[in-house]
């Protein structure tokens, strides 16, 4: 018997999903569904736009208007959709490779425009769908099928990238800290402007195995110990934050939203015509 969340927000006939056993994406997808449910949105106005990759298969399972686009371009499709019909609640689901490699340009420019779209990045630190190649968020020195001797690239911090590019709400949580994930997605949805929530996921099949990190449970346990909330930053010593990653809310500011600004131009002509 599916739960209320599943029944209300998923295309039950499309389940079970295709993700590997132990993958964290299902937890993140459910967190989004809970956030939508608790935000009391009109289902007919919610659009889930995804790119290509493991993360992006989520769109097909969710019972909204769903758009599964080309690799890296989800945010650009979402921009057109939102500009065409600002009544729509546009939520992008993208992976770390999808959003920060091939789609990096679209990500930074959507942040810059501060267009009212919520982007949720399922970050499993690897290219899962193509079989475990290193991504822009694979930590330095770790392994992927295209980094057999260790990755020499420096990893992107997606939240720092989005903050710097002008996103007005930026937060990070993990599949271990799932309640926080729900909270941040809810806040992102409510936020007027470009919001980005990074959900750190677990890929035991490729990332975990290649880097000898153990099982899915081990990967999630590692998250529990590795991530500390940014709000505690000032109280911690250098030793406390060694080898830790910050999570939490990095940015929450109000700035002019793109479509509202465009409507000011349209209104200018409306006023002219009424005179």
């Amino acid at each position: 018997m599916p739960s209320r969340i599943i029944k209300n927000n998923f295309r039950v006939d499309r389940l079970p999903h295709i993700w590997c056993p132990g993958c964290g994406h299902g937890i993140l997808m459910r967190a989004i569904a809970v956030a939508i449910e608790e935000s009391n949105l009109d289902k007919d106005k919610v659009c889930i736009v995804s790119g290509i990759g493991c993360s992006s298969r989520a769109a097909g399972y969710m019972d909204f208007n769903t758009l599964h686009t080309t690799h890296g371009r989800a945010i650009a499709f979402a921009t057109g959709l939102k500009v065409a019909n600002p009544d729509l609640k546009v939520i992008v689901i993208s992976g770390d490779g999808d959003a920060s490699a091939i789609g990096g340009n679209h990500l930074i420019h959507a942040c810059r425009r501060n267009i009212d779209i919520t982007t949720i990045i399922f970050n499993n630190n690897i290219y899962g769908m193509t079989g475990g190649q290193y991504s822009p968020t694979t930590p330095n020195k770790e392994k992927g099928t295209t980094a057999p001797y260790g990755n020499i690239d420096k990893a992107f911090d997606i939240c720092q990238l989005a903050s710097g590019a002008g996103a007005t709400y930026v937060a990070r949580s993990t599949v271990y800290h799932v309640n926080k994930m729900v909270e941040y997605v809810k806040k992102g949805i409510k936020h007027k402007g470009f919001s980005l929530v990074e959900g750190v996921s677990a890929c035991p099949t490729y990332y975990g195995r290649k880097n000898k990190k153990g099982s899915a449970v081990d990967l999630i346990k590692e998250m529990k110990h590795k991530f500390i909330d940014i709000s505690a930053k000032d109280k911690l010593s250098k030793d406390d934050v060694k080898n830790k990653i910050f999570m939490g809310e990095f940015k929450d500011v109000k700035e002019p939203e793109y479509i509202e600004e465009y409507f000011k131009i349209i209104d200018m002509f409306k006023k002219e015509m009424s005179i």
Partner: protein, 383 residues
């Protein structure tokens, strides 16, 4: 009564035509020689409650146009050569997801960044085969500024009627030339809107196999929650990994265009009937060719001309028909023979086919065409 006569550039006529056809959304990235289309769209759209957005690149522009169309607005983008190359993946996406949109390509010399400000007709094959794999496409090419207006309206109409991306293949000569355009009044020209579903939301199939092969299209936000994917999908819109569904989908996509050729193929015939030699031409070359035909006629050489306005689908049967009993066919084009190869493929008689080509950024003049034809005729007589 005549206050709708305008003196417009081709690029301006394109925007005017788009707005006449109902364009309410433009997304683009500036590139010469198409930029005036973006500029005028940015000025005109907010006045009619429409929206313009300058995206970060051509790929994003094509993506935004597809999103905009799915959001319910008639949408267009404009670009040139290299930008057209960048848009190709998402043009393929619009083909398989059947999202109406118009892509203007004001061609420029190439390959690569090539000759940014010079005229070219080098993207004929890119318009047909630019994106990967098999799919139908409609591409229209105007020969004058007023025809640019008319064909832009038709491009939108075809895109809405057949739920497919339509390419307006312009050239720099037409794009930057100024000519008189009589802008039709509202209602003078047919404007077609997409077919909307007539069923309850739970009965709606976004990719239904209807008799006309064109499924009704619900815009996002109208209460029909469905899935759109670039993967091969069944009639509900969900991906399927099935050879039979892949074949069925592709057959429908090809069929909806191929079974409506009478509607889609636009062309002009000029003095063909009694002619011995035939020109096959398109875009700005139609103008040089027309003058060449008249000059040759004045000298007693019976020349005629077939002008392609619809480049793709290629008017195969018509070309076979008009080339019958002709001794020679000349194909002047500002590329190295892209249309000529199509003609050669279709004409299976002893008729000689000659390309008159330039791909160096120069237009081909009527004199050049006359000299070329007379050179060939002289050689034949000598033999």
């Amino acid at each position: 009564m005549h206050n709708n006569i305008k003196f417009l550039q081709g690029n301006e006529a394109c925007v005017q035509g788009a707005i006449y056809a109902g364009m309410k959304f433009f997304a683009g990235y500036p590139i010469t020689p198409s930029t005036e289309i973006a500029e005028l769209s940015s000025a005109m759209l907010p006045k009619i409650g429409g929206k313009f957005i300058q995206m970060e690149d051509e790929i994003a522009s094509m993506a935004a146009v597809i999103g905009g169309s799915l959001g319910g607005l008639k949408s267009m983008t404009a670009t040139s050569g290299p930008g057209f190359s960048l848009k190709q993946e998402n043009i393929g996406y619009a083909c398989i997801t059947e999202i109406p949109c118009v892509i203007v390509n004001v061609q420029r010399g190439g390959p690569s960044t090539g000759l940014p400000t010079s005229p070219s007709q080098g993207d004929v094959m890119q318009a047909r085969w630019g994106t990967h794999a098999d799919h139908p496409i409609i591409a229209l090419s105007p020969t004058s500024v007023s025809e640019t207006f008319e064909l832009t309206v038709k491009a939108f109409n075809f895109s809405e009627k057949y739920r497919t991306p339509v390419i307006l293949l312009m050239d720099e000569v037409i794009a930057h030339m100024r000519e008189k355009v009589i802008v039709p009044n509202e209602g003078d020209m047919l404007v077609i809107d997409r077919k909307k579903p007539q069923v309850e939301s739970d009965e709606y199939k976004a990719y239904e196999y209807t008799e006309d092969l064109v499924p009704a299209m619900a815009n996002f936000g109208e209460g029909y929650r469905y899935n759109v994917t670039g993967l091969v999908h069944d009639e509900t819109g969900f991906p399927v990994n099935s050879t039979s569904e892949a074949e069925r989908l592709l057959n429908r996509l090809m069929g909806k265009i191929n079974s409506n050729l009478d509607d889609i193929l636009i062309y002009e015939e000029y003095l063909i009937e009694d002619s011995d030699i035939l020109f096959v031409t398109f875009g700005c070359m139609a103008r040089s060719t027309k003058e060449a035909v008249n000059n040759l006629r004045n000298e007693g050489i019976k020349a005629g001309m077939f002008v392609l306005k619809t480049i793709w689908p290629f008017p195969e049967e018509k070309i076979k028909q008009v080339s019958k009993d002709k001794n020679m066919i000349f194909v002047p084009e500002m590329n190295l023979g892209q249309i000529r190869q199509e003609v050669e493929r279709l004409v299976k008689t002893d008729c000689n086919i000659y390309g008159i080509n330039k791909a160096n950024g120069e237009i081909i003049t009527p004199e050049h065409i006359n000299d070329y034809v007379k050179g060939v005729l002289g050689k034949c007589l000598a033999e």
